[in-house]
Each structure stands twice: as C-alpha cells, then as structure tokens.
C-alpha cells in the first residue's frame, strides 16, 4: 500500500530513521505480509505470502513497519499460520521479535521522543484498531506528537472506535463501511482538528476518502510524515 499508493510515507519514515542515525535498507524483493488473504479466509495463499516475507526479511536486524495492522499480522498471526510446521513456526517467532511498529521503534528502540519536527497543525490522532488492541499502542504516538513544535493535539470523542476500513470488509460491506467512516468523520469535525494523524495507511485511505467525499478540507497524515516535517 505504501509502495503503490503512499510512497511519501515510506520516504518520510526513512528520513526520520536516518536522522536518528539508523542505516535504512529497503529489501527490493518485499511485497506484502499476506494479511488481505488471511483476513479473507485464504489461509494457503496467506501462508505462501508470509513465507516470502520471512525469506526477504530474515537477514534484517530490525524491521520497522509503517502500519500497526501489518505489524500485528506478522507478530501475532504468522505463528498461527505456521502452527502445523514447527520449523517455519520457529523462524516466524524469531522474526516477530525483530518486527517493530514505527512509533514503538522510535520510543522503545531509538529512545527518541523529540525528533526535531515542526508542523503547524491542530491535529487529532486516530488509533488503528490493531495497533491499539493487538499491539497495545496508545501512548507512544501521542508522546511523539506532543514534541512536535507548532502542533496541538486534540483527542477524538469517542476514542478508539474503528474507522470501518477492515480490508476487504470495506468493499464486501461497502455501505456499512462507509457509514462507519462517516461516524469517524463526524468525530473528527467535532474535535476541530485540521489534520488527522494515524499509524496506518489503510485507515488514512478510508478516512481521507470519506473526508474528501464530504467536501471537507481536512488533511490526513501518517505519523512518519508529521515527524519528518521541518
């Protein structure tokens, strides 16, 4: 998704990591973690894609992912996919321990909260469901945003509610998914923010699509884009 639709997110993430003196490598053979197939019930297809992921990233020290949902797929569901194959299961487990969601990597590995970012914005943060509930990420992105100069952070009310994306759910149940997105848009408007920040490109695509359809001039940014702003 970042490769084809949101390349600026990947570039921003690399910029932030390099500014913190990490050597960034992009293994060209990478494609997808397999979640679309897994969540749609295609276990064999998901397994094949996950296996490719293992092959591509096995040599990396730390794999930083600009998505809570993809991270959760790798750290939580790969083990399940390979439950019947102990050798691959062990590889998946070892890899999972080196996979980091971007905001977690910054706060826990890099030990950074202030990355020197500056962005004039009234922002609100949308918790992706998998980042929040599967990975337990709540404070890391907020701590990072709190140190961005010029940025005021406002919480959504209700907080932690799904934007309605849900992968193939967004098109299998398009009308329902759209209704959920509009609920999120209402909450964003109530917050008075002019910028929506999230850890997940897929949530951002859903929210941006609904904001744009509603004719609202509110921008969506990945956390990496905010942190790369100067």
């Amino acid at each position: 998704m970042v490769d084809q639709l949101f390349p600026q997110i990947g570039m921003a993430m690399a910029k932030v990591l390099e500014a913190l003196d990490f050597e960034v490598d992009f293994p060209e053979a990478q494609t997808c973690c397999g979640q679309p197939a897994f969540n749609s019930g295609y276990r064999a297809e998901a397994r094949a894609v996950a296996l490719h992921f293992l092959d591509v990233f096995e040599a990396s020290d730390a794999i930083v992912v600009p998505s809570g949902s993809c991270t959760a797929m790798i750290t939580h569901h790969f083990a399940e996919l390979f439950a019947s194959d102990s050798a691959v299961g062990a590889r998946a487990k070892s890899l999972a321990s080196r996979v980091w969601e971007f905001s977690k990597f910054l706060t826990e590995v890099a030990g950074a909260e202030d990355v020197g970012a500056h962005l004039e914005a009234v922002a609100t943060f949308h918790d992706g469901c998998h980042a929040l509930r599967e990975l337990g990420i709540h404070s890391a992105p907020r701590r990072l945003l709190a140190r961005v100069r010029g940025l005021e952070l406002r919480e959504l009310e209700p907080a932690g509610e799904c934007c309605g994306f849900g992968g193939t759910f967004s098109v299998k149940f398009g009308e329902l998914s759209g209704a959920m997105a509009r609920g999120k848009v209402d909450a964003i408007v109530r917050s008075g923010a002019n910028t929506v920040v999230s850890l997940d490109p897929s949530c951002l695509m859903q929210i941006q699509g609904a904001l744009s359809r509603a004719g609202l001039e509110i921008r969506t940014l990945h956390l990496a884009e905010v942190l790369a702003s100067r």
Partner: protein, 468 residues
C-alpha cells in the same frame, strides 16, 4: 454473497430514527459498563475476567462430568433433568407434560434459549398459549418480532412505537407515558401469572455441585414465573453448567456489570428443586430441560469451543461499531452482534448465511469487553477460512491466487502496480471517472459508492528509493 444480509443492513442504515435509537441505547449501556469496571471501582476486573475464562474453559472441557453431577443433584432435590436435541424435542416435552397435567396456560420469563428454538410458536401451533412476562419480550410478542438485542430485546422500540402496539393489540387508549404503559402490561400479566399452570424460564447458570439453577433479572417476573404456577420448567443450553456455587462469586460480579452497568441485577434467584414440605411457596414440580441444538458440534474443535463460554451479557453488542449501525434484526438469527456472528454459523452450520463472519472490520472491540474473554475475532477468522474454502465465488478465489502469486514475484508485483497506476493517473480528484474500465470492477465500485480514492502517485516507493 449474502444478499439478504446486505438488504437488512441497507434498510437499517437508511432509517435515521432507528439509527438514533440503536446508537443511544447501546451508548447508554456501554457507558454504564465502563463506569462500574473502572480501576477505582473494580480494581481486580482483569483478574476476574481471567478467572471467568478459566472456569468456563474447565467447565466446557469437562462438560460431561459436570452435567452428570448437575443431574444427580437436581434429582436428589426431587427435580427432573431431560436432554433435548433440538426445538421440536423441547416442545414435545412441554406439550406432553401439559397434556398429562391438563395445563392450558404458560407464563414465560426472558430466555434467549427458548427464543432460539421458537418455543412460543411451537407451543402455539398446538393450542398452548405461552405469554412472555418480561416487559420488553411481552411488547415484542405482541408485535410478533424477535429480540433485537440479547439483553434489551425491545431496544429498537421507542415509547411511541410501544403506545401504538398496545393500542393495536390490547385496544388500550393511546398513551406515550412509559409508566402508564408499564402499569398496563403489569395489570394484564398479573392475571396471567395467577391463571398459569406452567412457568417456563431459562437459566443463567446451572450449578453442578448444588443442583441449582441461577436466574438473573430486574423485573421480578422470573421470580413469579418460577414460583406462582404449580410447575416450573427451566430450559437451558448445556453450556450453562458451572462446577461450583462459589464460582458465582466471579460470574455474578461480571454479568450485571457487563450487561447493564449494574453491580448486581435487582433479583438473583437460586432455585433448586420443587417446594419442600416445610416451605411456603415454590412449584410442586421442577423440571430442567438441557438443550443441545448444535452446541455439541463445537466441542471437537478446541479453538472454536470458546464460543460456548458466553454468558449472554450483550457487552460485545453495545461496543461493536457494526452492531451499533446495523442493529439486531439485520442478523440472520436471534443471536446478534459479534457473539451472534460466531455462534450462528456454528450452531446452525456454516451454510446458513455464509456472509455473516465477513460482516466485521475485525476491530477487536468485542474481545476487549468480553467478561469471559472469548477471542471473537479469532473465531471469525477461523470461520472465514471455512467459508472461503467452499462457499466463495470462483472470481474471488482466482483473485487471491493471483495476489499470492504476485506477492511472491516482486518484479511482476512492481510492474503490475505501476501498470494499474499509469492507466489511472490524472491530475485532479476526478481521475477515476476517466477510467471507465476500472469502474466496472466490483470492489472499486463498492469503494467509490461511499468514498473517494486517492489518485495513484506518479512514482512508487520503489522508484523513489532507487532515485535517491
């Protein structure tokens, strides 16, 4: 896939009054729960959930043992236990008992298990009147509707709806004052309680070590149902058994809090057997009917078995962003919301409504609030894999096969992505309408019916990265 489900969803979304009713009622229940599980009110809430989960796991893993113990103890108190495979067997049991005792009128307290087997309708076919005595259920019985919510069956009815139902069905004067509506129902139901020969209840818990059933309620109608008539029949799913009375210390702390945000429900009744010689009230006969109706189908699968832990608190419905939009009647069976989405296909067989496990964004809010920690998203994913292997269209299967192939062939993956992007690129937001071929693709059409799609960027990340 699932056109009926889609139609129900569409109708509910299109009804602003209904949308408001669902959102308000579930919001109230949701907030009430949050207030009574807060750290400063119930600091050991998470430990209680873990304990409840372990107790249920143990009970379901040893279901045969505890059911036998329960039966022995019920019989020792002078009650009977009858196993029924399905709805018709339960109806036969009640009908033959009614015939032997010359019974003509039944009062009922709220029970999802009897809703599940359409017991009232089955008895009605044989001329046996069975009256619901829970206020919400009574209103729905008059309106010929099934429950909208596990705990709040008439959640979708406003006082104006109720006024209309009471006027139409009972020829009462039109009255929108809730207290007056309640008083009217009460006066009708009092007469039914006094005249009834049999009372039918469900059971929230079957306690193995004491041979007792536990009923949790707020209106007192379950107490009347189980004590006024001479015969009490409790109908319960086999999964309701718990090992010991002391386990209730865990479950009762969680049930009312999760369901309605009460610390305890108004009435909690422990019923074990018919009236003893030295007791002043209670029924002459006490019968427990234990229902399978598809439950044993779940037992062989250790992953899915957890679906049987459910204590029917409804917390997952109140917090579910899908239920809060589509309500209870969009679901194909009496069990709605996240728990309905996992038990319906398992109890009835996956062929029933293959789209149901897919009607979820997998946000996980349900698992977060479940007092017995059922991992609902995990079971949904498991059910999806079963449906995908047999029920989905050839086109979808092919699409995922192509996806998996492309994902293992990075060069083709990159070229394919750029090809699609170059077909679709244009400077303004209306880019997609210039590509009629894309509009014919189902998923793209479904996306665009609700939202815009960002124009693909001129270069992929791969290309930008190489150019650095």
């Amino acid at each position: 896939m699932s056109s009926q489900l889609q139609r129900h969803i569409h109708d509910t979304l299109a009804d602003p009054r209904l949308q408001q009713a669902i959102y308000t009622a579930t919001g109230r229940l949701k907030d009430a729960r949050l207030a009574v599980i807060a750290d400063n009110v119930l600091p050991d809430y998470q430990e209680l959930r873990t304990q409840a989960n372990l107790l249920k796991q143990h009970a379901i893993d040893h279901l045969d043992y505890y059911l036998e113990e329960f039966q022995r103890n019920v019989e020792a108190h002078g009650g009977t236990v009858t196993y029924c495979r399905d709805g018709p067997e339960v109806a036969d049991f009640v009908l033959s008992l009614a015939k032997q005792r010359g019974a003509g009128l039944i009062v009922k307290s709220k029970s999802m298990t009897t809703e599940e087997i359409d017991l009232n309708e089955r008895l009605g076919h044989h001329g046996l009147e069975s009256v619901e005595t829970d206020l919400g259920e009574y209103i729905l019985q008059l309106a010929h509707e099934r429950p909208y919510h596990i705990v709040a069956p008439a959640l979708h009815k406003t006082r104006y709806d109720v006024a209309q139902i009471l006027t139409e069905k009972l020829h009462a004067p039109h009255d929108i004052v809730i207290e007056n509506q309640t008083a009217l129902a009460r006066s009708v139901l009092r007469q039914k309680f006094l005249a009834a020969d049999i009372g039918i209840s469900g059971a929230n818990f079957l306690v193995a070590d004491s041979g007792a059933i536990v009923l949790v309620e707020n209106e007192g109608n379950a107490r009347l149902t189980t004590s006024a008539p001479k015969i009490h029949i409790a109908v319960a799913g086999i999964e309701k058994v718990i090992p010991r009375a002391q386990d209730l210390a865990v479950f009762l702390k969680l049930l009312a809090r999760s369901a309605t945000g009460q610390l305890l429900s108004v009435y909690t009744s422990f019923l074990s057997g018919p009236r003893r010689a030295d007791e002043i009230d209670g029924p002459d006969e006490f019968h427990v009917v234990l229902l399978d109706n598809g439950r044993t189908r779940l037992l062989p699968n250790p992953e899915r078995r957890q679906s049987l832990y459910c204590i029917r608190c409804g917390a997952c419905l109140n917090t579910c962003p899908v239920y809060r939009k589509i309500g209870g009647h969009s679901f194909p069976w009496v069990y709605s919301g996240p728990i309905g989405a996992i038990i319906t296909p398992q109890f009835l067989g996956a062929g029933h409504e293959p789209g149901l496990p897919f009607a979820s964004s997998l946000c996980g809010a349900c698992a977060e609030v479940c007092p017995v920690k059922i991992d609902i998203p995990k079971v949904l994913l498991d059910l999806r894999s079963e449906v995908a292997s047999v029920k989905t269209g050839r086109l979808e299967k092919l699409a995922f096969r192509v996806f998996a192939w492309l994902a293992r062939h990075p060069r083709a993956y990159a070229i394919g992505g750029r090809l699609a992007a170059s077909l679709a690129r244009s400077g303004d937001g209306a880019w997609i309408r210039r590509v009629p071929a894309l509009l014919n693709i189902g998923p793209i059409r479904a996306w665009l019916s609700q939202r815009d799609l960002p124009p693909p960027p001129p270069r992929s990340f791969r290309q930008l990265w190489r150019q650095r």
